[in-house]
Symmetry: none
Subunit: 155 residues, 2 copies
């Protein structure tokens, strides 16, 4: 328990929140050493927890004096939702992808904690009693439908 990837995620998110511009620069190898993991695990964490869908942007530079820069994006609610609906929910969605999108919406306070939990419950694997390939497709559709509600006026 207490996955290292989660610890790294929390660590970075705290750093970002404490930063002035919601943006930090790290050294991949330093961080890996600090958490006593392989450097490529840092990339794994970035890929799975700090991508655009989660509201982050990554820039980096290799070579001597290289760095990785993580920036929290400022996003407009409607365009963020629309992007996700249009681009990310085109096809199917795994459970964890869905959960991470929903968490991101909550972190941006586009939805309440309880709404997030309701949404996560709705796309949970155990509800989707269907052949494997269908599951992810249904999940994507459900999330799409739910997010559409947030885009309605008065909604």
């Amino acid at each position: 328990m207490a996955r290292i990837s989660d610890l790294i995620e929390d660590f970075l998110k705290t750093l970002i929140q404490e930063s002035v511009e919601e943006s930090i620069e790290i050294q991949r190898n330093e961080l890996a050493k600090f958490f006593d993991c392989s450097p490529s695990q840092i990339n794994y964490v970035l890929m799975t927890r700090f991508n655009f869908n989660q509201g982050y942007m990554i820039e980096s530079q290799r070579g001597g004096g290289g760095y990785i820069k993580i920036t929290r994006l400022i996003v407009d609610k409607n365009s963020f939702l629309q992007h996700i609906i249009k681009e990310e929910l085109k096809h199917s969605l795994t459970k964890s992808e869905a959960n991470r999108i929903i968490s991101a919406l909550m972190e941006y306070q586009f939805i309440s904690n309880r709404e997030a939990k309701i949404m996560q419950a709705a796309v949970d694997d155990n509800a989707l009693v269907a052949p494997l390939n269908l599951k992810d497709q249904i999940r994507g559709n459900i999330l799409k439908n739910m997010l559409s509600v947030l885009l309605k006026r008065e909604g």
Copy 2:
């Protein structure tokens, strides 16, 4: 005598009662080793003794650092919610049955207007791209899952 499944059930229920939030996290393989049974027997116990109708909710995570989380739901014998769960969510649900239940929840102020819309979107027909017979079953499961959220302590 003294079926292992019963022992595991008692063990878990004791743990849950002693816990603060009526919620525990276990490692499936650890527990199986402890009771000297096969790991899948843990799933059997969860399925037969800790399901929604018995007032529990199961969440889990696979992969390194995985776990199974069991949460006792609030069981209020007199509540309207309880009635719905017992009487209406036994089997599968058509779209209009689902909508009727959700509307009722809103009228009784168990959920907000927006939560109702989210729920309706989640169980909408067009999200459930599945063979007809499966649709209603999936819909029922989704609604059950979503209601579980409302029945958790901490809210």
